[in-house]
Symmetry: C2
Subunit: 402 residues, 2 copies
């Protein structure tokens, strides 16, 4: 189902700057995780730039046959340590590489019979991992320590897909992750909505009344405020909820619990002391599935298309932009403006050229039509007349399971 607990979390940033990974386990001193814990990290020597061109794997003029380094694919040695070397290059036919899935190919195995590998940010047991497993139930999940590394993992063909949380019903849209979509050239090929089920976890046999402190990400602690207040416990912040479960299991102190998922309890050998402890019962996170290639939209299922555009500022300009959809009876499922006048964005646009651009505003719109429909094509052509900048992030089947 997933790589393994000790298997290959990808750490882009620290590997790029040093190799001791001291900061990879945020809680190392408290929980006694030694620096040797870093041996499980995939050593991904990438440059900290959006224009990634390591070993020619991803170039601006990528063609059907791409020069690939054999060792860009991680090889795990006996200690679980992985290395990328920049020697021994060869050209490999793209046919032998994992191929992009089509809309009707949301299965868990590739055409060559191997499992789909899906990168996510966080530790095993994270909600992002749950999203990956909902999209591809038999996939191999690959934990990454940060979102940038998730993108790189797909771009460098280390994995086939990525999952990216993009909005939460309580927290709102995650602008930072929209930025990452614009910095990179991955395509949205699906969406998954996950109902957040915060559980109170403890060591086996512990009763919840015994708990004196509870660990989790501050947002999870906030979302479970009433339950925690009733218990009268001390709240301790950690970097993520799955990490809190990991720490609880490692510390083995009976009065310490964690807020995390049921799956985190299974992975770290903890008991679920209480389920659905969040104050706001309907807490849903929407994740995007990303791939190197767009899917070919089918006509068998309802699709949506996600776009980003900017406009000249002024009264009525947005109204005109939305007219391109209203005039063609296309429904919008999301619209969001984002003031951007104080910072340039380094964007890779549809022409595949990267540049730093200033915008007054960016607009994020999801509309309920497939790019295979003429009305969607006409609407986008019309919008192009008005917009200063326009990028189609992807067209994908709507998640109708909730």
């Amino acid at each position: 189902m997933m790589a393994s607990i000790k298997g290959v979390p990808i750490c882009k940033a620290c590997c790029a700057t040093n190799n001791n990974h001291r900061h990879c386990y945020y809680y190392s001193k408290q929980v006694g995780l030694s620096e040797s814990g870093s041996r499980n990290l995939l050593n991904l020597r990438v440059q900290n730039k959006w224009e990634c061109r390591l070993g020619g794997v991803l170039t601006k003029t990528q063609t059907a046959t791409t020069p690939v380094e054999e060792n860009d694919k991680p090889s795990v040695d006996g200690n679980g340590e992985t290395q990328i070397t920049e020697t021994r290059r060869f050209h490999r036919d793209l046919q032998s590489l994992p191929r992009p899935l089509s809309a009707i190919d949301l299965s868990s195995s590739l055409s060559d019979g191997s499992k789909v590998r899906v990168a996510y940010q966080g530790l095993p047991g994270a909600y992002s991992e749950a999203a990956a497993l909902r999209a591809y139930p038999e996939c191999e999940t690959v934990p990454c320590d940060e979102f940038e590394a998730v993108f790189k993992a797909v771009e460098l063909w280390l994995v086939d897909k990525a999952v990216l949380p993009i909005e939460n019903s309580v927290g709102g849209s995650i602008h930072r992750n929209y930025d990452l979509l614009l910095f990179h050239r991955l395509h949205i090929v699906g969406e998954v909505q996950v109902v957040v089920n915060h559980c109170l976890l403890g060591l086996p046999g512990v009763r919840k009344e015994e708990l004196k402190r509870v660990l989790s990400h501050p947002q999870a602690l906030d979302q479970c405020e009433m339950t925690l207040n009733k218990l009268g416990v001390t709240k301790v912040s950690t970097n993520d909820s799955a990490g809190a479960a990991q720490i609880t299991a490692a510390e083995r102190v009976r009065d310490t619990g964690a807020i995390a998922s049921v799956r985190a309890a299974e992975i770290y050998g903890l008991d679920v002391l209480a389920e659905r402890i969040q104050d706001d019962t309907d807490n849903i996170t929407r994740f995007l599935i990303l791939a190197r290639e767009p899917i070919i939209p089918g006509s068998d299922r309802p699709h949506k298309t996600s776009i980003v555009f900017s406009l000249e500022e002024g009264p009525g300009v947005l109204f005109k932009a939305l007219a391109v959809f209203a005039l063609r009876n296309i429904n919008l499922s999301k619209i969001e403006s984002r003031p951007q006048r104080y910072r340039p964005l380094r964007i890779v646009d549809d022409s595949n050229k990267g540049s730093a651009k200033y915008f007054d505003y960016l607009f994020y719109v999801d509309f309920e039509a497939s790019m295979a429909e003429p009305r969607a094509q006409y609407a986008l052509a019309h919008l192009q007349e008005i917009a200063k900048f326009l990028r189609v992030l992807g067209c994908y089947p709507i998640d109708t399971t909730l």
Copy 2:
């Protein structure tokens, strides 16, 4: 400038459930803050309901003369401990109470000469406190442990105003705080934009190269990833950045630093080892100023109006809603849709009636016109024809300082 470091942080939730405040200092065990630290918390016995009617201070039929408990105003004893008792009621004329400010009255003293008291979520040195001091430079700032307590503090006349972060240029809109605006009957009377300046803080005399671990809120740690990676330090999550500075000062370990504001350095006696260490230099948070009464919009400065509304679902409905502004040449500075079909919202609407409502979508719109202008009045009357629900959150001068 502010109440004091040891002064009155307001803790609603734990006071409502128990009095030992064990969970108020999230990091107590690690930093050795004893439970007696809780003596500084304002003991605010409020019910955990949006319909707050403690001692008749805020009723649904509030009129010009309101029954008020003398002791709803906190009285601080020698230990900094405060108590509210529910006896000794009397009627006090509203004239003797702090009065709402008008648009041109963004000063720091009330008509009776006393200082404006402004509640914020967090600890002294938090960015919210900086926002309060930008709006009211001479005000007395009152820390609260959570956002709900910030609202209650204004509703119960314990303070005059509140500051509430509503969106960040990197993190996006904070839906949870929009919810709080809908649950309560406070009015937006101003906005403040604060440039986030993350600083690396350490004990006096420490050089940044000596640091081995750095504490802060996970978002701040994320936003300063590159600097921290260069230093090769361990990142440790805390509940807020000012809290990280507090812990660093309390621990007195030379290899531990914090990411927080310059002001936090001053308050907790730390050195600023580096300024503006965030990866994304233009990181701006927008705060709202809230009060019990709306302001009377002036015509001397440009104003904006913030509204929330819902629509029937279907193609073109949003287009029609936005037409009410476009047809009157009113510019929008913000629009955001929020799918809401899975959860009811308990809303206090303009008729001052509270009820649980289901919406398909909520829309948050800020438009650049004052409610004093006929075109704004006409636009809202027109929108009312289309919307299933509409609430004006406030009309206030635009912050044009950035």
